[in-house]
């Protein structure tokens, strides 16, 4: 394929899923307007959710999901050896995601609660980068279809993709939403990385930070505001730890 007279690479890409809901892969299958164009931009060689084709040669591996069992670690290490580029796809892959809520309990306790006398194997949840080297991370629960597409275009064109530095709060204001903090809710939009068009707050669901911290954020100040509004540390922690995506800012200051 050519663009402005330049021959574009058509990278071989693979999608692999681990501990997750497969909703991020689904965002790609669900991008109806541009799915056909997307399929002409890359060569999809593994996409088990929608395809029976399986090949061992690929350049880019998209990893969806967190890692929570020994066989997943081995599978991931094998993929790392094959792929030139490993991309963590979605909040579970980038941060562990909601799966990390498991860490509030012991492994024995969660296994016993769900499986009783028939235990199954499981490990404490890890993000992809805690197991293998990761070249690029695309956060979001689920990922933003538009952002994913833009990232793929940058990859194919060989140019650098830059995430927005400002927080979700900026996009939310642009959408003229009423501030949920003012409505008495805990909203983490002020410290979370933009790029989702504030989709949750548009529907009046507060932001719980699935995209990780914005480069420009002021957590101590938000925490002070939330405390002044009367929220307890437990109430604040329930929201900041929901996706395990904000630990880098919330754990440093306390």
């Amino acid at each position: 394929m050519e663009y402005l007279g330049i021959e574009l690479k058509k990278p071989k890409v693979s999608f692999f899923d681990f501990t997750c809901c497969e909703g991020c892969q689904l965002q790609i299958a669900n991008k109806e307007d541009t799915l056909v164009d997307f399929l002409s931009l890359v060569e999809v060689v593994n996409f088990r959710e929608i395809s029976s084709e399986k090949k061992d040669h690929y350049e880019i591996a998209f990893i969806e999901g967190a890692i929570s069992r020994q066989d997943e670690i081995e599978r991931l290490e094998k993929i790392r050896k094959q792929a030139k580029l490993v991309v963590a796809l979605g909040t579970c892959a980038c941060y562990g995601g909601v799966n990390s809520l498991k860490k509030r309990f012991s492994v024995e306790d969660v296994v016993n609660e769900v499986y009783g006398h028939n235990p199954v194997e499981t490990l404490p949840v890890k993000s992809v980068k805690e197991v293998v080297a990761v070249d690029f991370e695309i956060p979001g629960c689920p990922i933003s279809k538009a952002e994913f597409e833009s990232i793929i275009l940058h990859l194919v064109l060989g140019t650098e993709f830059r995430f927005k530095k400002y927080p979700v709060c900026v996009e939310c204001k642009q959408n003229l939403n009423h501030c949920l903090l003012d409505e008495g809710k805990i909203c983490l939009g002020p410290i979370t990385r933009a790029g989702c068009n504030a989709v949750c707050i548009n529907g009046k669901l507060p932001c719980y930070g699935c995209r990780g911290p914005a480069e420009e954020n002021n957590w101590p100040s938000l925490k002070q505001i939330l405390t002044e509004k009367g929220f307890s540390p437990e109430q604040i922690d329930e929201k900041t730890s929901f996706f395990n995506s904000l630990t880098e800012v919330t754990k440093n200051e306390s």
């Binding site: 809901c21 689904l26 109806e32 056909v36 929608i50 395809s51 296994v111 499986y115 499981t122 989709v199």
Partner: protein, 422 residues
């Protein structure tokens, strides 16, 4: 001829999640047929403990990327039953329309992307972009309608944002509803073309009698809440769901199995159709395919899904007319946090889904149980495989043909495996 057969399908493709098929035939006799779910468990029920009940629908939506709206709705219904909340009629209609969007999204995804490649002899939908462009375009238009519907009604298809305890948090705007109404009407011919396309496929002729479980319709084809019914004559209240499921664990599978009057039950589109045929608004389509109760061919679940798509499109037009006529001012009910216990049963694309919570006086979840449609289908898939292989071997079918039939059988249930190992 006495054949030997060893079929191992590791991580079956074109299904959601990870499952293996294992078949062993020695000298023409079936030794072993297994449906083994090997998905990594996520422990949602354990993680819910100690969480504010308002966060439960947000968390449990993430059990499944495909039916997240259904999970959110079952979760909300369980909480609202526990706290004694009656939600406004408008909110009920908005929720049902959002669910219809999800049903269309999930069924069309399954019919075109996951099931159709088997019948068109390709590995995936991707080569069809070249060879059957018109079909792919119909699929994309129908899927897009479904996604737009979810976006307008629930704010997002995967992991909805405007479904909340007490009702909905943001009303859809009427202009969007008008456009949606037009869009559905415009897509009816595409649905008709899909019906014509599926009439050309040869659905495998296979029968194994089983017990079909679903919600019981009172005045309409049922989707959210109500009595539970089986084709063997079992009738229970929503709160007595455990009597319908009877979960147990098999060593070779991380997903549990269930049973009722027989060794297995089936849930899903075919189960709903078998139990509620009289309420179908697309009976003519069902008749065109010759599908009527009781149908015991699991492959016909694909056709039942298609019939449901047409039904859902018709019902959505009716719901939209009603919504467009009414003011959108009352969309959620006030409520007090208190101690309580509640069950929510919802028909999601793959069958009946149950959420059950115990909530303490602080409004925190003390205990949670979620029983997923695919979990209820696992035993049925497992025993179907044995019967299917025996019949195929007796009819002289070879390895590759048997393997493909086995794969198609599992796909016909549209299993949502990561869901089942929540």
């Amino acid at each position: 001829m006495k054949v030997d057969m060893n079929i191992d399908v590791h991580h079956l493709t074109r299904v959601e999640g990870h499952g293996n098929i294992h078949i062993n035939v020695k000298k023409g006799k079936l030794v072993d047929a297994r449906w083994a779910v090997v998905e990594t468990p996520r422990f949602f029920e354990a993680m819910l403990r100690g969480m504010s009940c308002e966060m439960a629908p947000i968390l449990t939506a993430r059990i499944c990327g495909i039916c997240s709206i259904g999970h959110a709705l079952a979760s909300l219904r369980a909480i609202e039953n526990a706290l004694g909340i009656d939600i406004p009629v408008i909110a009920k209609k908005i929720r049902l329309l959002a669910k219809h969007g999800e049903t269309l999204q999930s069924h069309f995804l399954h019919l075109f992307f996951l099931a159709a490649p088997d019948y068109l002899n390709v590995g995936s939908v991707i080569p069809l972009v070249q060879s059957n462009r018109a079909v792919v375009e119909i699929a994309l238009r129908l899927k897009r309608l479904a996604n737009d519907m979810c976006d307008i009604l629930a704010g997002r298809t995967t992991h909805p944002v405007s479904l909340c305890v007490g009702g909905v948090s943001r009303p859809p705007n009427k202009e969007d509803l008008h456009k949606l109404r037009e869009q559905i009407s415009e897509r009816i011919p595409d649905a008709e073309r899909t019906v014509e396309l599926f009439k050309t496929i040869q659905v495998p002729d296979f029968i194994r009698e089983t017990e079909y479980v679903s919600l019981k319709g009172e005045e309409n084809y049922p989707w959210i809440g109500g009595k539970l019914v089986s084709t063997d004559g079992v009738l229970k209240n929503e709160n007595d769901y455990l009597a319908m499921t009877n979960e147990y664990k098999e060593d070779f599978s991380t997903s549990k199995f269930t049973r009722l009057s027989r060794k297995s039950v089936a849930v899903g589109a075919l189960a709903r159709l078998n139990n509620n045929y009289n309420f179908l608004k697309a009976k003519d389509i069902a008749e065109e395919f010759g599908i009527k109760p009781l149908n015991h061919n699991p492959f016909m679940n694909n056709i039942a899904q298609l019939v449901e798509c047409v039904h859902v499109m018709i019902e959505s037009l009716e719901l939209l007319d009603e919504l467009l006529d009414e003011p959108m001012d009352e969309i959620s009910s006030e409520y007090d946090i208190k101690e309580g216990e509640g069950v929510g049963a919802v028909e999601v694309p793959r069958g009946i889904l149950y959420h059950h919570y115990l909530i303490n006086k602080k409004g925190l979840v003390e205990k949670a149980n979620c029983i997923i449609p695919t979990t209820q289908n696992n035993a049925n898939i497992h025993y179907d495989l044995a019967e299917l292989v025996e019949q195929a071997v007796n009819n002289g079918k070879q390895d590759t043909e048997v393997k493909k039939l086995c794969e198609m059988l599992v796909r016909a249930y549209d299993p949502c495996i990561s869901c089942s190992v929540h």
